[in-house]
């Protein structure tokens, strides 16, 4: 584990972390019904509509809008009655016209409880270089109150110097539309990115006062793009991440996980301060959404303890939905240990602290041995003292100092690995003896 582990010691820890496959160490088996199909549930729901980016310019099937509409209409009634407090539409204009977008939102509103006003977090992820003013106006008119802008891989890798002026002009124009929050997804780790260019770009981002900045690993987010094959080596990757992490923290941004930065006035920062931050596979939210419904090709869902994934190929997706089949190609339910690990990791990602006494009494766990063992193992891998990564306060609470937050991904990985190793060691005896007080 050590070489790979060392190379990933300072990496982004949000997004799809931890993957169910990692928690359960197993490939996803065949689809099965999600938990929330079973009982009445009126808790807020997050929805992610995914239009694949890799299909840009490569002919998305013309039937995609129709197929998406059919997938929306085919959702079970118990999901439809839940208020949709968070909506993320990835790349809405990638092959969708203004009319298609309006029709799909109309369909979504006809089948789900979309919330009015600003009581929701409805966000569209758009390429700032491609999006037109009409598209932005339509998004606002359709009820999106947040924007997440992305920069094309070409601009992020070889033409980084050209980005700042265009970004500045466009963000100023976007501000006129009165979005509650404008975020930027900053992909780092392209080989062509030079530290001074990244510093210049992050200075621009800080100057423009983006409410949210998400750092994303080029290899994870743009693995389909030829430019991403020219990714930085692991040492450069760490340097880029550390540079961005420090620049944002030193300029007043609050950090969630270790890769999501928010201005102190942003609702996510407020939710973090008030201990009401939630996260799903999608990202963080302040609207109490713990379940995620994924729609569209390649979308991930997380309903209760069940994860599911849609068919990623747009053609096959359309074919399946057109034939009245489910587009879900795999689903997985976390076992008890996986759920507990997810709880612990969610706490660390959201608050950088773990109330050990509360977690142990609430969930009948012996957490301390797992934590100590994981941190000790990680510290030896990183050749640093475990006290530097985490701080324990009276055996009741664990805090992450800045260096610990920087290494949050590694800490979470270590917890997962230690939990799995321990599970493996004790399968012949009684796992519950060690982790749950019966």
């Amino acid at each position: 584990m050590s070489a790979a582990f060392e190379s990933h010691a300072t990496r982004a820890a949000s997004g799809s972390y931890p993957s169910p496959a990692l928690l359960n160490q197993s490939p996803w088996p065949t689809p099965r019904a999600a938990d929330s199909d079973r009982s009445l549930n009126i808790a807020p729901l997050a929805i992610c509509i995914n239009i694949p980016l890799q299909a840009r310019g490569a002919e998305l099937p013309p039937a995609l809008a129709g197929a998406l509409g059919r997938e929306i209409a085919s959702q079970p009634h118990n999901l439809r009655q839940r208020p949709v407090s968070q909506l993320m539409w990835r790349n809405p204009f990638n092959d969708f016209g203004l009319g298609d977008l309006t029709a799909t939102m109309h369909q979504l509103g006809s089948h789900f409880r979309l919330l009015p006003g600003d009581s929701h977090e409805y966000c569209a992820e758009v390429d700032i270089f491609q999006t037109t003013e009409e598209q932005v106006a339509l998004l606002k008119g359709l009820g999106f109150n947040q924007l997440l802008v992305t920069l094309p891989p070409a601009a992020l890798s070889s033409k980084l110097d050209d980005v700042a002026p265009v970004l500045t002009q466009r963000i100023r124009a976007l501000r006129d539309y009165g979005f509650a929050s404008i975020g930027i997804k900053l992909v780092y780790g392209f080989h062509a990115q030079k530290p001074h260019q990244l510093r210049h770009l992050i200075d621009t981002i800080i100057h423009l006062q983006f409410e949210r900045v998400y750092l994303c690993d080029a290899l994870e987010d743009y693995h389909w793009d030829p430019l991403a094959t020219a990714c930085a080596n692991s040492s450069e990757l760490q340097d880029h991440f550390t540079l961005l992490f420090n620049a944002l923290r030193n300029n007043g941004y609050r950090v969630l996980g270790n890769d999501c930065f928010v201005l102190p006035k942003d609702q996510l920062a407020v939710a973090q301060r008030h201990y009401r931050l939630r996260r799903t596979l999608l990202n963080y939210n302040a609207s109490n959404a713990a379940d995620l419904l994924g729609l569209g090709p390649g979308a991930y869902g997380q309903l209760g303890r069940t994860y599911q994934r849609n068919e990623p190929d747009p053609q096959t997706y359309c074919h399946k939905v057109g034939n009245g089949e489910s587009p879900v190609i795999g689903s997985y339910s976390l076992d008890e240990q996986g759920q507990l690990l997810r709880l612990v990791i969610d706490q660390l990602l959201c608050y950088h602290r773990l109330d050990i006494t509360y977690m142990e009494s609430r969930y009948k766990l012996h957490l301390m041995p797992l934590l100590r063992q994981s941190i000790r193992r990680l510290a030896s891998e990183l050749s640093s003292g475990s006290h530097a990564l985490v701080q324990f306060k009276d055996r009741a609470c664990m805090h992450l100092p800045p260096i610990g937050i920087l290494h949050l991904r590694a800490i979470c990985d270590a917890l997962v690995m230690e939990g799995l190793l321990d599970q493996h060691k004790t399968t012949s005896t009684d796992t519950s003896e060690r982790y749950t007080k019966q």
Partner: protein
């Protein structure tokens, strides 16, 4: 004799032209001159008759007549055939706020779609003819003709977009930018209707323009005079001639995308 024949031909042409005219209440969608920008644009020639079957054409509205009032039940959308309609909203303090102007070929009344009640009132600014399209029947027809549904949502997206752009215009831009944006909008809408994009008659009063743009009547007049002095346009009461369309567009969208 040849002269008589010529006169007859001219008369016949004129008659043919008149029967095609969108101002004629009897003209069908298939023959309407506005069908290239109105709902039929999306339809195959065979389907235009199906749309025509559900459309109701009544006598023209006179200036000041209401097409519908705020809080009326949402039953139909309306295609403006001739004349101009303004949409108004009554603010919390009882003031009238103009929220849009609808020119021939444009669809008005979609504000009721979300709640089944109209949120605005629509008033004729001059003698105006409309085609009434019952929404339930339009929905039924859309299921049979998907291209109609697509086009309807395109129109709706345009409506939503222009609403948002107006809000942005009012919240940020200067008086010059606001007036320029309205003139550029009318110019491009005229162009779509194959009318002159640079010489037209403003169908609305200065007071309505001021109300729509959040400016006083005096400011609207001052801005128009300033544009005239700068040689961007000429104004003669309601008649406008845009001399420098490029300049006007640049004023309308100073820091756009």
């Amino acid at each position: 004799m040849p002269q008589l024949k010529e006169t007859a031909r001219v008369t016949m042409d004129k008659f043919a032209s008149d029967t095609r005219c969108h101002t004629n209440p009897q003209v069908s969608c298939g023959n309407c001159r506005l069908n290239s920008i109105c709902l039929p644009i999306s339809l195959h020639i065979d389907d235009i008759d199906k749309l025509d079957d559900i459309i109701q054409r009544s006598r023209p509205l006179q200036k000041g007549d209401y097409l519908y009032r705020a809080n009326d039940e949402f039953v139909s959308v309306f295609a403006v055939r001739s004349g101009t309609v303004k949409a108004i909203n009554i603010t919390n303090d009882g003031q009238e706020q103009v929220t849009g102007f609808y020119l021939p070929g444009e669809i008005v009344g979609m504000d009721g779609l979300a709640t089944n009640r109209h949120t605005n009132s629509a008033i004729a600014l001059e003698t105006t003819a409309v085609c009434e399209i019952p929404f339930t029947r339009l929905e039924e027809l859309s299921i049979k003709i998907p291209s109609l549904q697509r086009h309807f949502f395109q129109l709706m997206s345009k409506e939503i977009t222009s609403d948002q752009q107006l809000i942005t215009l009012l919240s940020k831009n200067s008086a010059e930018e606001r007036v320029a944006a309205l003139l550029v909008s009318i110019s491009s809408r005229n162009q779509r209707r194959q009318l002159s994009s640079t010489a037209f008659r403003l169908p609305m009063s200065r007071a309505d323009i001021g109300n729509y743009l959040g400016l006083t009547v005096e400011t609207v007049s001052r801005v128009l005079s300033r544009f005239q002095k700068q040689g961007v346009l000429t104004v003669d009461k309601k008649e406008i001639e845009i001399v420098e369309l490029g300049k006007l567009q640049a004023v309308a969208n100073p820091i756009g995308f």
